[in-house]
Amino acid sequence: MRSRSIALVGLAVVAIIASACSSAATPVPGLKIGLVTDVGTLNDKNFNQYSWEGAQAGATAIGAQAPQSAVSSVSADIAKNIQSFVDQKYDVIVTVGFAAGSDTIKAAKANKGIKFIGVDQSPCLDAAGVEDPTFGCKGDAAALLPNLVGIQWKEQQPGYLAGIVAASISKSGHIAAIGGTAAVPAVPNYMLGYANGAKSVKSTIKVELQYISAAPDKAAFADPAGGTAFAKQLLAKFTDVDVLFQVAGLTGNGVLQAACDAKIYGIGVDVDQFLSTPDTAKCTVVSAEKKLSKNVSDQIQKVKAGTFKAGTAKLDIGSNDVGLSPFHDSASLITPATQKLIDDAVAAMKAGTLKACDENAFGGCNIPK
């Protein structure tokens, strides 16, 4: 019995090592695409998930083999996962989230032959081409790191449009937006745009802008129950609020839940939440979208086509990379007048005559004090 079990163990070990050695070099044609998530999970109904769908769509579009994902469960995993794709000679590596920014820059610098796509990142380099520790961003990222593109969006623009919708459908003249944390620029971008858009419709409208957490932690982005509670509390205080915009990832899905429970209108964020979170579809009027999936897919296709452009891709409404989702079941709420306000605002933003917020040098919003 004993010697038999030892023999079996030995056999298993040999098999595993043999299999490890043999599988080390299997040539596969086409571009190999890998995706490294932010800390969390792949199915966050948000950045990770839609970047992943974008990677898949991009791979399909260029006829590459199906991409592979590596989920980071702790902070230290991000760099390790990127490196793992590098070692496996992947051609395109998508990294998701601002927290992966530094690791992506390091990897891009060390592996010039690999194309990196950093979602929600903006490489900030000093003149020497390394990440700028003082965030002065004097170096030309496009020239210094020609294999890295960071994708960012002008979230204030879809936020502005969402604000127009909110002000138009609000009967009480009191609306709200709940963000995960102000410590991540995308969140206040959305929310300031939202406030401005709403005021553009009705200058007297009251807009509550609230943040759930000081830090981009679990409470801010990964705690649906906490989001529901926060929203319920806000709604308990401001009983006349009748439109609620969520900018808080998974936590925000709980915010939408609270909107549904209170039978008021909710507005989704980042992706078309009517589709992505069916449980709250019935009260989701519209979503302020950035076309995550499409943009990641586009970048992959650019790699294939040789039109890859390094630096920061600041995507805006000009290229229709941000905007409002379809209204789906809520189309009846949108009067022609509202639709016109939206269309006009889109046109004005495209023309550059309308700024959704007080923009800073990096295309984000200056946060008023």
Binding site: L42, S73, S213, A222, P224, A225, Q233, D279
Partner: protein
């Protein structure tokens, strides 16, 4: 008239603070109660288990696993048995099946804990740690795999809608709103806390439980089966943790997320200690902790005016998040009263007398 009092130095500030607290609690009563539910149920899981002498730090894991299975099973069942929400609490077959799954999961995990800590006589803290690690690992693993084939959830229980006339009553209308306009699990938690408190101190089971947790040998000498009673209690605790888990995915919310209990199982543990191992005490502590969170939120969203507002907003919001933990440490250390665990808590029991 009242506001005049607010101008008195120091005392006025205190009065303002009380006014603000009262305001926060009245306005947010229903939310606080709702948020306290998983904490209270988790804490009662701890109470029932530790009262019989078995330490349970695996509440977090049990809740997480139950939340997952409630969500998964309800969503599968919703496809198999599609139905319109029923009159009471929007009940559907799928939700009931999901609830049953949550309870079963809670029991299954607590069975592992019971076996390790009662039969194997392993260290009970290690056993609880195992529950936490395995529950997180299994749910996260499966959640990730399942999400590749996305499916809609099984929905959720709805809050009860009491007659408006009842809610509009002065003063007690608030109480009705707080207690009645809730989902079934929150309401159940209130009932369970009361029933459990009564049972623990007035029933045969309660008497035996307390005796076994304090002095198992004495219980054995009057013919009580210590091992069996501990099993019963730990499994019953599993039911409560299962119910707490179900709250996350089929009562308060509708979806599961990896690690979504987010440390609430440990706050539940804190509530149990703060509540001095009493069901009602634990419930009260859970309410207090939930209120502490609500207070933190209220200070940021709607700070009171004047000097009080300046003082309160100058406190970092993290202080309010950390409050339950700090309070628990203070209670354990005897700074704010003292809370002493049942004497035999954590000690495995060996049946045979050796002399």
């Amino acid at each position: 008239m009242l506001t005049g009092l607010f101008d008195i130095p120091v005392l006025g500030l205190v009065l303002q603070l009380l006014d603000f607290l009262l305001n926060v609690v009245t306005v947010n009563g229903p939310v606080i109660l709702s948020l306290a539910t998983p904490l209270a149920l988790g804490a009662m899981c701890g109470v029932i288990s530790e009262r019989s002498g078995v330490v349970n730090i695996g509440i977090e894991g049990m809740m997480l696993a139950s939340a997952f299975s409630a969500w998964l099973v309800a969503s599968v069942a919703a496809q198999a048995f599609p139905a319109e929400p029923g009159f009471f609490f929007g009940v559907t077959p799928a939700l009931l099946i999901g609830l049953a799954a949550a309870l079963a999961t809670g029991v299954a995990f607590s069975l592992v804990h019971a076996w390790l800590s009662i039969s194997i006589r392993a260290d009970q803290i290690i056993s609880g740690t195992i529950i936490n690690i395995v529950a997180f690992g299994v749910t996260a693993y499966l959640d990730l795999l399942l999400s590749r084939t996305s499916q809609p959830s099984g929905g959720k229980f709805l809050a009860f809608a009491p007659p408006q006339a009842l809610l509009d009553l002065p003063v007690i209308g608030w109480l009705f709103r707080m207690v009645l306009a809730q989902g079934p699990i929150t309401m159940a938690a209130i009932v369970i806390a009361v029933v459990f408190q009564v049972l623990l101190f007035r029933s045969r089971w309660g008497l035996r439980t307390r005796a076994v947790g304090e002095h198992p040998k004495a219980a054995e000498t009057v013919g009580i089966d210590v091992i069996r009673l501990r099993y019963q209690n730990v499994l019953a605790g599993g039911l409560l943790a299962g119910l707490a888990g179900a709250w996350f995915t089929i009562d308060f919310g509708t979806t599961f997320q990896t690690g979504m209990t987010n440390g609430r199982g440990f706050i539940a543990l804190a509530a149990m200690i703060f509540g001095r191992w009493h069901p009602i005490g634990a419930f009260g502590a859970a309410l207090l902790f939930a209120a502490s969170g609500a207070l933190g939120t209220a200070i940021r969203t709607t700070p009171p005016p004047g000097q009080l507002g300046e003082i309160l907003t100058s406190i970092p919001e993290q202080v309010f998040s950390a409050l339950p933990y700090l309070v628990t440490i203070a209670v354990l250390a005897g700074v704010v009263g003292r809370s002493v665990a049942p004497a035999a808590d954590g000690q495995p029991y060996e049946r045979e007398a050796t002399h």
